[in-house]
Amino acid sequence: MVSSDYTPAELMVAAAAREIREGEVVFVGMRLPLLAFLLAKATHAPRAVGLFENGVLRDRPASEFLVTMSDGPNVTDALWCTEMCEIMALLQRGSVDLGFIGGAQVDRFGNLNTSYIARTPGDLSRGFTRLPGSGGACDIASLAKRHVLIMTHERRRFVPRVDYITSPGYGDGSGWRNRVGLPRGGPSAVITTLGLFRFDPDSQEIFLASTHPGITIQAVKTETGWPLRVAPSVTVTPPPTPEDLRLIRSYDPQGFWTRGKE
């Protein structure tokens, strides 16, 4: 298998891993973020530690594949196993550097919706599709020093304004988080199936930072529901290295999350 032979999910995992810095305390979700955390640990961030909202703190990969964060192997050899409130307290007191969240709908200021999708855009009173809800996502988006969104990139998901803010990004732009009382944080990146996005430090609007290999800027714009801002010099997202792929596949040997074998 050559290094160009990777799936979009594997590329996203590699990109997400690069968002983790050495020694950081990371609020880890399942699926791609967990793989990204493990990849970062095995490469450039060996001292990063991972928190799970069920009450687990780990610094080693589980010895077997996990479907949920509460599976047995995630508990054995954990650094800490505690109440959810103590994990959330770390988040609230500012001890968590980075969290990952995924969602169904995002808008130009990085607000995320995983709760209600309106049948008529912007009007929940006329019927909706119900999604599972926040879980801990709103808490991560509210309280981590920064967070990263991981999304499938489709025009129906990239909307000017989400129907419901489950997990706050930058609200309606500059100064909003401070105004509503959030103590810190905000999204630092959005990693999608098409590219990597960052936020303008002034307007706090999302912009395209790099396209994934083989994806054109126009293709990204087509799948985005507002006039997308684009960095002056858009780069190409570095693909996963052969070593990255070897590691990712060791953590997800069946391709449950990264090769559509779910």
Partner: protein, 333 residues
């Protein structure tokens, strides 16, 4: 004495099969052992608010939930953080009037189809929902456990979870002026909690991730423990730092081995991933769900029927394969 339930000492049917003989010998001052049917019958009346699924994806009290369905309980309010498929089953079975939760679905597969049908189409009947985040539901239970009307937090600010839930208030901090969300206390009528081991007097040990189990146990008016194993009180007393909740706060102890299936219970059995996948497929339509419900809840009659339907081979396959004992701890003096 506290008013919230004070069952008289009694020995019941379920208490014979337990591995600890002392419970039969009448040497205990306060035996709280009930059968699953007795415990659900007594502590989950129609209209009750029930907290369950408190440890997130593990230790989910499915056996208790299925008994609620079989007993035809109605108008329940379900409280819990994420409830991996159990809430969806109770909603589909028509037991639920309201859900207070942060997430309702199938953790491995996404949507909870009964939850969606209830909210999107009012099927089998309309459902009220009060949306929380995991942290805010934990704080609501902690507030009740602590006996205060609310706890302050900085999560939820700016979210629609907050703006659309009139239960929350936003107030400036009297010390710092910063905005705080005040999460009101939520005191469930009953907590149904799966644990690894309990004694007949209500002592218990739980290990692995606990989620909001401690908060729920301390918050609820009544506490029912569903134990993989019934042990002598001295086993629990040998490690009092691990005790989940004071025994005097426990109303009933049910011997309920494999009561968490298909969820995992650390040191006892692993997650039955296939059961979640099967449920995902067989709950996609109302008809398929009713068929699933009949096969796995109604027809089996009780929890032992459920285990019989699973079969010994499948149960054996799910059993823990490795032993990882905690390092010894000495309470000597």
């Amino acid at each position: 004495m506290r008013s919230e339930g004070d069952p008289q000492p009694r020995l019941t049917e379920s208490e014979r099969g337990t591995p600890w003989a002392g419970a039969r010998k009448g040497i205990l001052s306060m035996v709280k052992i009930l059968t699953l049917a007795e415990a659900i019958g007594r502590f989950v009346p129609d209209g009750a608010s029930v907290v369950m699924g408190t440890a997130l994806e593990c230790l989910v009290p499915f056996a208790a939930g299925h008994e609620i369905i079989r007993k035809g309980k109605r108008d329940l309010t379900l409280i819990g953080p994420i409830s991996d498929i159990l809430f969806d089953q109770l909603i589909g079975a028509g037991c639920v009037r309201k859900v207070i939760a942060a997430w309702v679905g199938n953790v491995a597969h996404g949507s909870g189809y009964n939850f969606r049908r209830a909210l999107e189409e009012g099927s089998p009947h309309p459902l009220e929902v009060e949306d929380h985040s995991n942290f805010s539901i934990a704080l609501a239970l902690e507030a009740a456990a602590f006996g205060v009307p609310y706890l302050p937090t900085k999560t939820l600010l700016g979210s629609d979870i907050m703006t659309r839930n009139p239960a929350f208030k936003v107030e400036p901090c009297p010390f710092t002026g910063e905005l705080l969300v005040l999460v009101p206390a939520l005191e469930p009528d009953v907590a149904l909690l799966q644990v690894q081991r309990a004694d007949p007097e209500g002592g218990s040990h739980l290990w692995g991730p606990t989620g909001v189990t401690g908060a729920a146990a301390r918050a609820a008016k009544h506490v029912v423990l569903l134990a993989e194993e019934i042990v002598a009180p001295d086993v629990i007393r040998s490690d009092p730092n691990r005790t989940l909740v004071p025994p005097f706060r426990v109303d009933a102890v049910v011997h309920c081995p494999r009561g968490g299936h298909p969820s995992p219970v650390q040191g006892c059995y692993n997650r039955d991933h296939a059961a979640y996948t099967e449920y995902h497929q067989r709950s996609a339509t109302r008809e398929a769900f009713l068929d699933w419900l009949k096969e796995w809840v109604l027809e089996v009659g009780d929890h032992s029927g459920y285990l019989a339907r699973l079969g010994e081979a499948r149960l054996a396959e799910l059993s823990v394969k490795t032993s990882r004992l905690a390092a010894p701890v000495d309470y000597g003096f």
